[in-house]
């Protein structure tokens, strides 16, 4: 073998550097034309038993319990093995986005509903096959969280929605035997809780800051506002409906019915137990929290959100979707697992295992989900919900809304300007689709 002489080696080195630089440069630049709309749904999967190894990532309690839960699936499909990896929620977003970037994804994962837009747009998720499940079996709001552009990228697995929590004993003292049904009643309700029943604040509403959009937007949705246009290509925040809703929200702070200071974790629950706060709006996890704080089960109740004119108003819906990755090499079988997890009796069994509320409507027709009064309120509310838009830039725009809500509530900016500012910032950020 002939060894190259020194100058030659140096020359090849230089060529290599130039070549790499050239490749990098030519590879730069965006593809100018992105096709209109998303890709269509993929073809239907075949009939028959699943086989092979299906890798699943799931977070939190879901991740811990799913491994045992899928034993039934494995005994129905003897040739399939399901490998569940539990991922902590805090690390999940980065882990998923790194996996998608590297093309080293599992086959299926639980995906937070607000991440769908971003992962689908990055090309990480596989469109749901034609005929895998029937859209009509699911609540409408949660189904919306899987739809990015015009294409659905997965199936809702479990859901959570926000309802009105209130102290029944205080309400009775204030002369209310039923929950308020509309905006005017809600305002009167809060006033009475304060004036007649001695609560320091009739309602707790979040005065802006992280996550306050989840309480503000339901008022706007109930009033007919929508934050994006139908295909999610443009933000449409600046509407009279949005302004009116924010005006209404702000009035609670102006009239001293809600506290504009920030609360530490636990303060709301202990305040609710002490009768400092008469009511608040939150999700299903709060039943456990308020009971831990010492509120007896006959001292409080939940009710569907008041609408502008009648209950139920439109609430926020969150939860988790199941999606199959574009880089999975076992897609068919992965979808079969997703299909199995969406069966009504599997959904109710899953509720009994860890208490996740089912996304499939018919799972609510039997067992505890059908008989428990509190749960029925959540079930009823789920019929009228909206999911936040499944677009990649949502988290950023949500932060803009949070900041402007705070400015409006604290009087640092008039409501109409705050709403205009939301729109102008959201407009320049773009939906990212």
């Amino acid at each position: 073998m002939r060894r190259p002489t020194r100058p030659a080696r140096r020359f090849t080195g230089a060529v290599a550097v130039l070549a790499v630089a050239g490749l990098t440069l030519t590879a730069c630049g965006r593809d100018s034309a992105s096709e209109d709309g998303g890709p269509g749904q993929t073809d239907a999967i075949s009939e028959g038993k699943a086989s092979g190894t299906i890798e699943v990532w799931a977070m939190g309690t879901e991740g811990e319990e799913l491994g045992d839960f899928v034993k039934d699936f494995e005994s129905d499909n003897p040739e399939a093995t399901v490998k569940v990896t539990a991922v902590p929620w805090e690390a999940a977003h980065d882990k998923l986005s790194n996996a998608i970037a590297a093309g080293e994804t599992p086959d299926v994962s639980l995906i937070g509903t607000t991440w769908m837009g971003e992962f689908a747009e990055a090309g990480g998720l596989e469109p749901t096959p034609e005929g895998l499940v029937d859209e009509a079996d699911f609540f409408e709001g949660p189904w919306g969280s899987t739809v990015v552009g015009d294409t659905s990228y997965g199936v809702p697995w479990y859901v959570e929605t926000r309802v009105l929590y209130y102290r029944t004993d205080l309400a009775e003292k204030a002369g209310w035997s039923e929950a308020p049904q509309n905006w005017d009643e809600l305002k009167q309700f809060a006033t009475d809780l304060e004036k007649k029943a001695g609560a320091e604040y009739g309602m707790h509403l979040q005065p802006g800051q992280t996550g306050s959009w989840q309480t503000v937007l339901p008022f706007a949705w109930s009033n007919g506002a929508s934050v994006t246009n139908e295909d999610g290509t443009e933000y449409t925040i600046d509407t009279p409906e949005m302004q009116e809703a924010l005006e209404y929200y702000k009035s609670y702070f102006d009239e001293g019915l809600a506290n504009d200071g920030t609360l530490d974790p636990g303060e709301l629950e202990s305040g609710f137990a002490d009768g400092k706060y008469g009511a608040f709006i939150s999700g299903p996890w709060h039943t456990g929290l308020v009971e831990d704080a010492g509120v007896k089960t006959d001292q409080y109740a939940v009710a569907p959100l008041p609408g502008k004119d009648s209950a139920p108003g439109t609430s926020f819906v969150g939860g988790g979707d199941l999606a199959v990755f574009a880089d999975s090499d076992n897609k068919e079988n992965a979808w079969k697992l997703v299909q199995w997890l969406s069966e009504p009796d599997v959904q109710s069994a899953w509720y009994e295992t860890i208490g996740d509320l089912p996304a499939v409507k018919s799972a609510w027709e039997s067992g505890e989900l059908a008989s428990d009064e509190q749960l029925q309120v959540f079930g009823q509310q789920l019929e009228t919900t909206v999911a936040p838009p499944a677009v990649p830039s949502w988290e950023q725009v949500a932060a803009v809304i949070d900041a402007d809500v705070e400015k409006a509530v604290k009087g640092a900016m008039p409501v109409d300007e705050a709403v205009k500012d939301m729109q102008s910032q959201a407009g320049s950020i773009g939906t990212g689709l």
Partner: protein
């Protein structure tokens, strides 16, 4: 022989060089490159198929009212925090340099906050600053002073964080100043006293000038630290109220979170430039001239 030595040197240096190139120089250059593109999180699968947009990110940042606000916040934090911390640290150091008894106890006491986790410190201070039942407001109430909502008031939140930062960081400066004070020979001070200089004159005309290099060092490291403040606000106020405690680093963190990698990289480089400029100015003002 010399060639062999050179080769040995390269071999010994290689592990460091490789690590440095891969984990330091590489990412630094990549982030600098990113700051001139419109790369977003949705581009992770095709990182080279992004638009080259020159200085657009930088222009966008400088035109963004929120970024301007966080620049002002960060500037205020430095302008209020650095003199306060240095003044307190110098006072404590001079005091500790004088006393004979319990020196060790005080030194440990003042240094303890430095070795305590910033997150733990922030959580405890959050309790101290609570509007109702917080130790500070209880104390103010006892002497009949108003009890403000420290962290919910946009005008007070940043100053409250500055005071906490001064308390936390004065320990390390104190140690440095103490070492500086001990290098000043007693003979010089004694000579000055023989010439009739009194305590304050000695401090102003002898101690301070001789401490100048130490003070410069203290100012530079404190400013660099304060320009990057983040954890205190992250734990105590989440950047609020009304963005009054959001810093440039916090803004950058948010932008990375939103997936705007290009914009976030530009924000970090603007902060880097600020660090360089401020350090240069400090060297110009306090350095050299003898």
């Amino acid at each position: 022989m010399r060639k062999q030595q050179a080769r040995a040197a390269w071999i010994l240096a290689a592990p460091f060089l490789v690590l440095f190139l891969v984990f330091t120089a590489g990412p630094v250059l990549a982030s600098l490159g990113m700051s001139f593109t419109d790369i977003k999180r949705t581009d992770i699968r095709t990182p080279f198929a992004v638009g080259f947009i020159g200085f657009d990110n930088y222009a966008q940042l400088l035109g963004d009212p929120l970024f301007r606000k966080v620049m002002v916040n960060t500037g205020l934090y430095v302008v209020l925090g650095v003199p306060l911390t240095m003044g307190l640290a110098l006072a404590v150091a001079v005091m500790l340099n004088r006393i004979e008894r319990l020196k060790g106890l005080f030194r440990v006491g003042y240094y303890l906050p430095v070795v305590t986790s910033i997150v733990a410190v922030s959580v405890v201070w959050k309790f101290l600053l609570r509007p109702e039942g917080g130790l500070i407001n209880e104390a103010l109430g006892l002497v009949g002073l108003p009890q403000p909502e420290w962290l919910d008031n946009p005008d007070l939140a940043l100053p409250a964080l500055v005071v906490m930062a001064a308390w936390r960081n004065l320990g390390s400066l104190m140690i440095i100043f103490l070492a500086g004070l001990q290098t000043i020979p007693d003979e010089v001070k004694e000579a000055a006293q023989v010439d009739g200089a009194r305590g304050w004159d000695v401090f102003r005309r002898i101690t301070l000038p001789m401490l100048k290099p130490t003070l410069l060092f203290g100012a530079v490291i404190t400013s660099i630290g304060y320009l990057q403040f983040f954890e205190e606000a992250f734990v105590m106020t989440k950047g609020g109220p009304l963005d009054a405690t959001r810093s440039v680093t916090f803004f950058t963190y948010d932008q990375f979170g939103y997936g705007n990698y290009g914009l976030a990289a530009s924000a970090s480089y603007l902060l880097f430039i600020a660090v360089v400029v401020l350090t240069y100015v400090q060297f110009k003002i306090f350095g050299e001239k003898d």
